[in-house]
């Protein structure tokens, strides 16, 4: 089993007619993802390599029964695109676009929670999600992932997500689902959302989690793992040696307290029983040990 998306997931692409959208939408389709429609307010009735374009998400959902959407709209339009998807009946929204203003993200995160509590948003500024062999939504190169299980991956960093998939494939370890949650200030899907889903998924037997400096998402995930996750977890946190960013004012420091450094994050994860590697390769090796002992 996979989490969030699988071979039955029908996906529409908001921005399929654009350069990025048509390129990655095409690659996703080639991979086997059910790419059923695209949207563009002025190009309804046309198609992109055989994929029909509708004027709105609501019309595309009505015509195709899609439950997921993938957003390749430029940053200024993402706020409206997310709301259009939710109002149009989409349940799982993947926003790939980077550079979305933090105030927009905070706004639509809270708007969705209030008016569309059953909608799950992934991103923005994320590589997307892949359930290897079943469904690939976003910009991950599908062939670097080995289908099957037993490992589920959740990552805040794009290239390190690929690195993790690749390290596991080199060791002939399969992946149920790999979720790139992105590194923006207000990610739609959190580590905890993914940990919860992996914990509930019978085919996922172990979890690999890749974090980054900044914020407190890793510390919150560690707390969640300690209390709610029975499956073994390996982890890596990028930025152990990153210089502290120049900070203006005090509000940030007051909010974060001692949190946010890679050391604090790794300490919290170790404390929760997570096997923490010093680099991505080591985290992969730790996962290989975990898998060998399952």
């Amino acid at each position: 089993m996979a989490i969030f998306v699988d071979e039955n997931t029908k996906v529409i692409y908001q921005g399929l007619t654009g350069r990025q959208g048509s390129y990655y939408g095409g690659l996703n389709k080639e991979y086997g993802t059910q790419v059923v429609a695209g949207t563009h307010p002025k190009k309804a009735g046309t198609d992109v390599d055989g994929v029909p374009i509708y004027a709105s998400v609501a019309e595309a959902v009505e015509a195709t029964g899609a439950t997921a959407s993938c957003i390749f709209i430029p940053a200024p339009g993402v706020k409206d695109a997310v709301i259009e998807a939710a109002e149009g009946g989409i349940e799982f929204i993947v926003a790939i676009t980077e550079g979305v203003p933090a105030h927009d993200e905070a706004w639509f995160f809270n708007k969705l929670q209030r008016d569309h509590p059953n909608v799950q948003l992934l991103g923005p500024n994320c590589p997307g999600i892949i359930s290897p062999g079943k469904c690939n939504i976003g910009i991950t190169a599908g062939h670097i992932a080995k289908p099957g299980g037993p490992v589920g991956i959740v990552s805040r960093s794009g290239t390190l997500t690929y690195q993790a998939l690749y390290e596991l494939k080199q060791k002939d370890i399969g992946v149920t689902t790999c979720v790139g949650i992105g590194g923006d200030p207000v990610p739609g899907t959190s580590f905890i959302d993914c940990l919860k889903a992996f914990e509930a998924d019978p085919e996922t037997k172990a979890i690999m989690m890749i974090g980054e400096i900044g914020g407190s998402a890793e510390e919150e995930a560690a707390e969640f793992i300690k209390n709610n996750v029975s499956k073994p977890v390996s982890s890596y946190v990028a930025g152990v040696t990153a210089p502290p960013g120049k900070k203006m004012g005090h509000a940030g420091a007051i909010v974060s307290g001692g949190k946010g450094t890679a050391d604090a994050k790794m300490e919290a994860l170790r404390d929760a029983g997570v096997k923490v590697g010093q680099n991505p390769t080591e985290a992969g090796e730790l996962m290989a040990e975990i898998v060998a002992n399952l």
């Binding site: 550079g99 706004w107 809270n110 991950t140 290239t159 690195q163 990028a238 005090h250 509000a251 909010v255």
Partner: protein, 380 residues
């Protein structure tokens, strides 16, 4: 994007907040002229993009013109935490009865905007937060609702300010929140927010960080971009559109993706090397981008070896390899390069690089080995 104090105050003033009259100056003569126009007493305030100026002698009260000359002379050129003072803000001095603290920023954990207000304003607010957190009144504002009148009043009443400050503080709270959201700020902070002996609430300092991602709806942000303090290397990288942070080590780093770039610094440090920079060239690795990155790294005189760390995802290994070779033809490199190329079609990419290898261009298959090799080369 960080704003100088005077830029932040002008930003606040656009939203109706009361600030003092002042002028930005770049020399002692200009400072004297500004003080004459404003009328003494004035404050002579260094303008640097870092905190803690006051404790380091960067803010002085000047009762008369002679004092302005003395302080301006001393403060211009002063090094404050690595920032050399080039500009001063000369401001009409205010009488202070009480000092407060007020700010808004995003609480990433709560995914709401967090307002903090304290009657114990002034320089040591972090100390207040650590030792007596109950003295900071906090509110979490849902971005969909915004800061309502009711919530603003509740917040101010919870902070235990002087009753005389209540109405003024509520008004400024609402203006500050509007500046924060409409202005797309990551942080707006007033410390101190003062109550004058006449009972007026007034902005005496500003810290503003704007969200560069929102520049598309704020054309006026360009003026702030010009005044960001960057070293020469950072300036060159910024001009080429590269994500670059200068560090003080000897191993130049080029990687694709912020996570991988950060991870590269980690690994270099682990093997005993010292990275000279953080440089993320983004998803692709074409010849243009690679050449630009190599130029920036090569111009850094501290660099003794270069580590190129590329993971091919959608971008295939052979494209990356060709890009590197093409870039090397365009830029004359002074330091040896160690390449680690992995991911999609890595074998094909390595085969392309193979014939070009020599003692100035080396290749390793793992990140750890490549880090070791480049650290050794840099140590020679």
């Amino acid at each position: 994007m960080d704003l100088f104090e005077y830029q932040g105050k002008q930003f606040f003033a656009e939203y109706g907040m009361p600030i003092s009259a002042g002028e930005v100056v770049f020399s002692v003569e200009e400072a004297l002229a500004a003080a004459e126009r404003l009328g003494t007493p004035v404050m002579v305030k260094s303008q640097v993009l870092t905190g803690g100026r006051g404790k380091l002698g960067g803010i002085k009260f000047a009762a008369d013109i002679d004092a302005v000359r003395e302080h301006a002379t001393n403060i211009l050129g002063l090094d404050i935490k690595g920032h050399v003072v080039e500009r001063l803000w000369i401001e009409k001095a205010s009488d202070i009865a009480e000092e407060y603290y007020m700010s808004f920023t995003l609480d990433r954990g709560a995914k709401k905007h967090l307002g903090m207000l304290s009657a114990e304003g002034g320089m040591d607010i972090e100390e207040v937060a650590a030792s007596t957190p109950e003295k900071i009144s906090k509110i979490w504002v849902d971005p969909v609702d915004g800061l309502t009148d009711e919530l603003a009043a509740q917040w101010v009443d919870g902070a235990g300010l002087n009753p005389d400050a209540r109405d003024g503080a509520i008004a400024i709270a609402k203006q500050l929140y509007t500046s924060y959201t409409d202005g797309d700020a990551d942080l707006v902070e007033i410390n101190p927010l003062i109550l004058t002996p006449e009972g007026k609430v007034h902005v005496l300092d500003s810290k503003v960080t704007l969200d560069g991602n929102a520049e598309f709806r704020h054309p006026d942000y360009a003026q702030y971009d010009e005044t960001q303090t960057r070293d020469d290397r950072e300036q060159a990288a910024h001009a080429k559109g590269l994500q670059y942070v200068g560090l003080d080590g000897t191993v130049g780093v080029i990687a694709n993706g912020a996570g991988l770039a950060m991870s590269t610094l980690d690994v270099i440090n682990q093997v005993g090397g010292k990275p000279a920079n953080f440089l993320d060239i983004g998803g692709g690795a074409n010849a243009d981008v690679m050449a630009g990155a190599l130029e920036v790294i090569n111009d850094d005189k501290n660099v003794k070896a270069i580590f190129i760390n590329i993971f091919g995802g959608i971008t295939r290994g052979e494209e990356v390899a060709n890009g590197i070779l093409e870039a090397m033809k365009r830029v004359k490199i002074d330091s040896p390069i160690v390449i680690r190329l992995d991911g999609t079609n890595a074998e094909e990419g390595r085969a392309i690089l193979e014939p070009a290898l020599n003692d100035m261009l080396m290749m390793e298959t793992t990140m750890l080995d490549a880090a070791r090799r480049s650290a050794e080369l840099a140590a020679r």
